[in-house]
Symmetry: C2
DNA sequence: GTCTTGCCTCAAGTCCACTTCAGGTCAAGA
DNA sequence: TCTTGACCTGAAGTGGACTTGAGGCAAGAC
């Protein structure tokens, strides 16, 4: 079978039905409709979803991901090379993120003995040497890797929770 | 002068006036009031704010930070050692975050040649070997280090925007 | 005396990535 | 025929960390 129902896609991808509808509304995936109005997704949506999740893991927002996806060739099925091109810039981004975290950690190591936490000098409270704030609600670093996934009850393919 | 107005604190800390009020409401900082009802902060609030920002950068939520702050000694001014104790556990957290990002990057390196992005096997779309989703809205990694600070117009001490 | 500035409170809005809900349609099986 | 289950839509809710807005008080400059 070439086309999948939204339920199939959800089951196979682990992406919730509601999220799939949301992605369609946001233009991240496309689908056909049956005469009755039900969505029918091509198999290729699975790889697309995979890309979306990977991109989110690298820290991209949905608008950014949509932009990236928009550069895929129309007309033909994207090749491995296409996907690789898209994710090519991620490495640099990850490297940056890692570097920033390391800087923070090293700042911590330096500060931990003195407990300085100076607003203007401490690299912990002030990474990247900026003197002021980073703006409203800007949390710079990982919202928490080790945090247990928000356990909503939607769980289609959800693990019990890693409880790291 | 021993006590600072909320405006002074905002100017010196780079934390917005509205955020300071919010922090007070949430019990993260305390202050006295003038007869007219205006807040007067002790100088020590600056270090406290510094700690709050640093903790946010490590990925703590405000409730977590409040808990941490609650363990500071009452009665006496916190010493460098007190602050150091508080931030002592951050190192492990940062190490974890760094490790997770490195894993993702290495997964990227492995995947980038093949463009696989397999939902079940790719370490990029599926870090930490979990087969399903991580649940609703769970973005695992940095919401974006390199992202330009949300340029709201509140800008009290805000930089023009690094435009990375 | 009035203007401006800085502060106050409380309520509601913002952003992101969704989820949840209410109410309805459609096709297949008992 | 009735029921069940999967699907549909549009609107509203969620959480975290704030910001913004409306409406008002108090002190210093002119």
């Amino acid at each position: 079978m070439d086309l999948m129902t939204i339920g199939d896609v959800a089951a196979r991808s682990g992406v919730a039905v509601s999220a799939l509808r949301y992605y369609e509304a946001e233009g991240l995936v496309t689908c056909e409709r049956t005469s009755g109005g039900a969505r029918r997704f091509p198999r290729s949506v699975l790889r697309r979803l995979s890309f979306i999740r990977a991109a989110q893991n690298v820290g991209l927002t949905l608008p950014e991901i949509r932009e990236a996806l928009a550069t895929l060739p129309e007309g033909r099925t994207p090749t491995a090379r296409d996907w690789a091109r898209l994710s090519g810039s991620w490495r640099a981004r990850l490297d940056e993120q890692i570097a920033a975290l390391e800087q923070l950690r090293d700042g911590l190591t330096a500060c931990i003995g003195c407990g300085c936490l100076s607003l203007s000098r401490c690299r912990l409270s002030n990474p990247g040497d900026a003197a002021g704030t980073y703006g409203p609600g800007a949390r710079w670093l990982s919202p928490a890797l080790r945090r247990v996934p928000p356990t909503s009850n939607s769980g289609r393919g959800m693990r019990p929770a890693p409880a790291g």
